[in-house]
Amino acid sequence: MPGHSSHSWVFFYQQEESSSMNLYIILTELKQLYRNHWLLMLTSLIFFIFLYAAWNGNTNVEKRKESITSALVEMNQQDELLLERLDSLKEGHELNLRPWQYPDQPTATGNFNPRVAAFYPSNLALISTGQSDLFIHYVKPTLNDDVISLSFAELTSPVRLLFGNFDISFVLIYLLPLIVIAFCYNILSIEKESGLLRLVASNPLNVQLWLFQKTLVRFITVALLIVGALCISLALNKVDFQPGAWKLLLSVILYTSFWFALSFVVNLFGRSSEYNAITLLSLWMFLVLILPSTVSQIASELYPVPSRVMLVNELRKEQAAADKEQDKILDDYLRAHPEMVVSRESDESTAYGWWQRYFASKDLVEQRIEPLMADYDQKLLEQQMLVRKLRYLSPSVILQDVLSELAHTSTDHYLAYKESVFQFTKDWKSFFLPLVFAEKEFSSDMVEKLPQFQLDASSLESRYFTNMWVLFLYPFILIVLCLVGKPFSIKNMF
């Protein structure tokens, strides 16, 4: 059929045309960017802010490492002193200490020679230090500690503390979209305002596709600059490029593509440069600032966390009540913990002393305020769950979730650390309390058997791939909506 073959030929010819045209448009766009001083400024800006942010983040990480190291050094010195004193006592020497400070007293060692329960920074910790510098990164649980969970009361809101330091996550979440907006807000409007678009549109081409190619070139340029700046920043700070760093690069590329897609869509409406700039800045403000803080606000309103002051007051109140009924408490405690009861001669039946009463009352206080603590933790957990669900509303929150997961500074990592510390505190007490109740001495051979802290992160579930999918879907959906909705028409442009 002649008509059919002619039609096929035209189709083929058009395909040939469009593929060669694409390449030339891309090359010319690159050439124009290269010749434009703006690109040089952009390159300098991107490298400067990334290098500075990485240095800044690394400074925080180093401080964290230093404080842990110094706590460990102090612990080791205390252990050496402990062993010296225990040996000295064994040899029958007197120590220049008060009786309750003698290291053979389990209460003394349990309180004065605590282990360091440290939350070490990860390989990528420098990329997102927003929360980690506010949170405790090591504790030294002792036998006397009231309620160790009170040490973790900084954890108030997962989103409120999202952005604080000028680190890489701040640059990526806050500044990167602004760079993309500045680079692309007028990609079509400038052509329209200069009159070039009339000349372009008088040619047999799909202007929407032409604009997409121009945006794509800019996206590739900015993505390469960012990836380059990130790699150099990480390398200079001696970060190991294990899978975490590659995951980071992928997430950044997807996040950048979202802002490019958004700029592309806004341009397609064919409005003026000023209109595009204001629209994109409004969207930035909404997605990066307003939405995360609203999510945080909603979480706090729906699941209000009891006040920390109330917790402390409750603790004191219970402690005061316990002090008044020490003997009864001790009796109750021993009934509940028969393993602690020591067989005594009848004349020694009242020999349980101050420490036994003290620990029994402490246990009681902890039991009594446990529902309050559980409520506190439950509310926090509910806040977490809500924020976790609502994070899909904003690519910025998703990226923050990804970055803090990769940096091991996420709330989940912090909660895992907190749980590990709780467990360790229990282990520590369980080691010493039987000695206290049995009125046994602490000896040098027990030093090696002291419980050691181990961070248990086995319960952590990665959300990386889900987050990546959603970050991918955002630009994809925007582009598909464009193709379906066809906001652009050359007939609206002139």
Partner: protein
């Protein structure tokens, strides 16, 4: 080659083009004269498919512009009043870029030849266009028409702001293209240039074509008198 049948355009309630019927033969230069707002640019925009007609249709080479814009755009080159090119690209690069938009690719030698044919000095071929005068840019537009082998030139006041020499050179190029069979529709305010260059002249007023004559029918003075009379 160019045909408008009952071509009408409303902007809201304002009638910009009132049932225009026009036919321009292949190789003919048709000059549209008229005051600002007479409908000249609207006519050009309708042939370019930049705006949607309220009624009627425009045809290029017998193809309906609105229905098959990609096909009709393959036949045309458009040169606006102020031809803007990419300032950071050279004349040759601009020419290649706009040719590539039309689906063509030529070697540098050929591009230089077309620029030379359009009257651009060879020293300017590889200069960045931001240093070009308006006349030089218009010549790149003509070179584009030559390189694209366009059948139709749509010109919207192309000589406005050009000095007399550049304007004259431009007219000569149009005549040369006309001899090659290129059809030209030119909107202009320049009566003298229209008389010198055009084969036919149309006078527009309030969206209507009120005069359609051959340039041979009137002298320069008569044309000016006729135009002023019609504008009253």
């Amino acid at each position: 080659m160019l045909k408008a049948t009952n071509l009408t355009k409303y902007y809201g309630k304002h009638l910009a083009l009132d049932a225009l019927n026009l036919e321009v033969q292949a190789g003919e230069i048709f000059c549209l004269l008229g005051a600002n707002g007479a409908g000249k640019s609207t006519t050009i925009n309708l042939f370019l498919d930049f705006i949607k007609p309220s009624d009627g249709a425009a045809f290029i080479g017998g193809i309906n512009v609105e229905k098959e814009p990609i096909k009709t755009k393959k036949l045309i080159t458009y040169i606006p009043e102020n031809l803007v090119l990419y300032g950071n690209l050279t004349g040759v690069e601009n020419l290649q870029y706009f040719l590539s938009l039309a689906g063509k690719k030529l070697k540098s030698k050929s591009l230089e030849m077309f620029l030379e044919e359009a009257g651009l000095q060879s020293g300017a071929f590889y200069q960045r266009v931001k240093s070009y005068s308006k006349g030089m840019r218009q010549k790149v537009g003509i070179a584009l028409a030559l390189a694209k082998e366009s059948k139709v030139l749509l010109l919207d006041e192309p000589t406005s702001g050009l000095d007399p020499k550049a304007s004259n050179e431009f007219s000569e190029l149009l005549i040369k293209l006309s001899e090659l069979g290129v059809t030209t529709l030119m909107a202009t305010h320049d009566l003298f240039r229209a008389k010198e260059t055009g084969d036919r002249i149309g006078i527009m007023k309030s969206g209507q074509l009120i005069e359609n004559m051959s340039t041979g029918e009137v002298g320069h003075t008569d044309l000016e008198k006729l135009y002023l009379d019609r504008m009253k």
